[in-house]
Amino acid sequence: MTIRNTLQDHGQRYRPRMACLKKSEKVLLEMQDPKTGLKSQPQRLVITTIPHAITGEDIIAWLADRLQVDTQEARSFGSMLVALGYIYPLQDHKRLVIKPDASLYRFQTPYFWPTQQWPVEDTDYAIYLAKRNIRKKGILEMHEQEHYNRLHKWMNHKWDFIVMQAKEQYRAAKERKKPDRVVFDCQERAYWVVHRPPPGTVSAMDYGLDRQIDPNSDEAVTPDFYERIMIFTQQSIMRPRVKSSVSIGALVKYCATYNNHDPFLSNCLPSNPWITDDVTFWTLNMPCVEIPTKMRVERWTFSFAELLSDTRGRDDFRLFLKKEFSGENLAFWEACEDLKWGKAASIKEKAEHIYKTFLARGAPRWINIDGKTMEVTVKGLKHPHRYVLDPAQTHIYMLMKKDSYGRYQKSPVFKDTVKKAICPDEHRFSGAQLEQNSKKRRPSLSPIILRQMEQEQRAKMAANIDITQLCRFTTPVPHLAVYSGFTDYSHCHRLTLPHLPGPHPGLSVPHQRGPGQHLGV
């Protein structure tokens, strides 16, 4: 037989597929079990009789029963077994699928299983093609002929060896009995259809790109390796853990709380834009809308983080804090966020302003943090970096969460918002209306445009106010980088964006064209 590649490299190249192949083999062995497996019978094919053939419908029925799935899934599973090369079709041998009828299949011999013959060598393929060529000239298909020509070119130096091997195999095959020879030919042919598929076939052997690290390579295990693991493990043991009942309870509660807000599980009002092509839902839930929806307001009560992360929620909270004269906490928190995520060049400047406004003695918006945190923070501000305000920010965040958040939910500001919140009626579109909707689809607003609009609005508002009474650290307007004074909310109004859908001149998405870029629908 062929001189096979004796390299030990099995671990690396078929890694991504190995787990799947092992599972397939288990199922296959069960299928071949004489008692509980598939019933096979000899089948006549042209003039010879093929032993142990099974029909497609039997395979699918057995799989559906064994795996407890419906026929469609059983069919996909069966097709996967064929695509991997464990079962091969006798008729229509180039299409690696299971047909749910009386089409015939056979189990592939373990010699040709993908796990046994990996990697699949080009030399073997060359010998196989040469052998077929010898048997009958012109029998090779187009793609096989192309492969043959290519291999002939690249393996020219060992072509004599290949031809010799091919002749040897051909001679040995002739000495076998006819039925055995036919069976072996089928098996070998099936094997090569799997590993050198005809063009246009989706190959199950295609596993993408190789992994970089070879798990079989013996890494020199040094004492250092163990030391590192031990240090990490020791630290890990000492870390505080929470009782699993507490943590699990929190998970279950989260799912229950958000159940009505999950579009995959509950309806959304007025209608799901993906289904009806009507974007009212998105318009009503814009970041800076004047009147929020009831569902949105409900989410603000789920957690403090949820309230702060929603721009509209934060605005409402800010309004409440103003009435309580504790607006500096939120302003400080926002300033810290801006410092953390902003450009590195501006860190020093921002840190100075924050110090002057919030932390220095006698500062106009002095925040109340404990002595130790203040000491640490002020010291850190001498050499400011992105996270220098983290301890102070966390302190203020917890303060707001434990104190202000609760009061906010009981406050008249919040109650008023809840009362005004809208709960839109469900859309009931007729078939014709749905058609209309799909024709009126407009491109969505780019987030960059949205933010620019927001910034323009704020700049406009800020320009109308006395400079010593500035506001807003959410998106600090560059030329007004003075953090002082206090926010005058009566002048700030909610951004009302033009109602969509409908053609609006200034709101199209900028189609970015450049040399060599194609844009088509």
Partner: protein, 340 residues
């Protein structure tokens, strides 16, 4: 040699201690806690849109935070930003290297990133002055392929690589800020926590690690898988981690209790998980597989509640939009589908 043996024994001893420590806190299982929860029932999602335009296998996709724009990367050497409502292509960015394996959309919407076999993470500025999309930075320092990248903001990005490390980069200077080393196999994917303080990485050494970004250290390691971890994601509340592996199972790990909660597996699923995404409430888990399907799991009860079959080749990437309204799948058949 004697010293090595002793060290190895000590290490094993410590590992047993950790297992014991975890067990003492295990006073309940998710199955028990979820026993009283109502059943979800069959979940059927339909394809609402098909995004056509790529010419080769799609390897990655990522939603923008506005829930209507998404970016996808394909081995035809293109990074396309789609407006999913109209299926228009907003940007079609040609890449220098066509062997791209990952892409990411910045939360602000200003930047997109991609990388692959070129070992680099390329950042593109979508907000260019003259409307041109140009390379803003090329972050090069990895010695292996880039398997995944995620933005923290417009100034920081985290990448995972085939050289077993994850790196936090400063985009403005183009330098590495922190290198997170510890995995012993290719780091295949990463996910950032909702509060941006932690991130998780899954690797080919069958483990997932939780890293503290600020402290630059590995906090927890989770094992249990029998093969390479291809996909990883946070549960929406940030306290649990979901991993998907080549062994065809997904696992749920709890961070605070430091243990494995559930395994999502079925004997009829034998093809590895390539990608996963939880739904907005965390109740559903959508996992894309090599067998061209996406399986939908009820996360609390570990039951399969749906299948999305529509692709003609492996599902390579999946994502649920920020508002939870739609799920997008990308496949090697070069199409992206939006399901709802």
């Amino acid at each position: 040699m004697g010293e090595m043996e002793e060290l190895r024994k000590e290490m094993e001893n410590l590992k047993d201690q950790i297992t014991a420590a975890r067990k003492t806190f295990q006073d309940s299982t998710l199955q028990e806690a979820a026993a009283g929860v109502t059943v979800v029932g069959r979940v059927q999602l339909k394809t609402r849109k098909t995004l056509r335009g790529h010419l080769a296998k799609i390897y990655a996709m990522h939603w923008g935070t506005d829930s209507t724009l998404c970016v996808s990367a394909s081995q035809d050497g293109k990074l396309i930003v789609w407006d999913t409502i109209t299926t228009n292509k907003v940007n079609a960015i040609p890449l220098k290297s066509s062997w791209v394996m990952t892409c990411a959309y910045a939360p602000s919407g200003n930047l997109v990133a991609c990388g692959g076999l070129d070992n680099m993470c390329s950042i593109y500025n979508l907000k260019g002055k003259d409307g041109n999309v140009k390379v803003m930075r090329e972050l090069a320092a990895h010695t292996g392929y880039l398997s995944c990248c995620r933005f923290l903001s417009d100034t920081e990005i985290i990448t995972s690589s085939g050289d077993c490390t994850c790196v936090l980069w400063d985009i403005e200077t183009g330098t590495q800020k922190t290198v997170f080393a510890g995995h012993q196999g290719d780091a295949m994917s990463l996910g950032v926590s909702p509060d941006f303080k932690f991130f998780i990485s899954g690797a080919c050494d069958f483990t997932a690690k939780l890293w503290d970004i600020r402290e630059a250290e590995c906090r927890q390691t989770f094992g249990g898988h029998e093969s390479d971890i291809n996909a990883i994601g946070f549960f929406p509340n940030g306290n649990a981690v979901i991993t998907g592996s080549d062994d065809a199972t997904c696992k749920l790990y709890d961070l605070r209790a430091d243990q494995e909660l559930l395994t999502y597996q079925d004997s009829s699923i034998m093809c590895g998980v390539t990608s996963l995404a939880p739904s907005k409430s965390g109740r559903l888990l959508l996992a894309g597989h090599d067998d061209f399907n996406v399986n939908i799991w009820d996360m609390l009860k570990a039951e399969r509640v749906g299948v999305l079959a529509g692709h003609d080749n492996r599902v390579s990437c999946i994502g649920v939009s920020t508002d939870g309204m739609a799920c997008c799948t990308g496949s090697w058949d070069s199409f992206l589908k939006i399901w709802n």
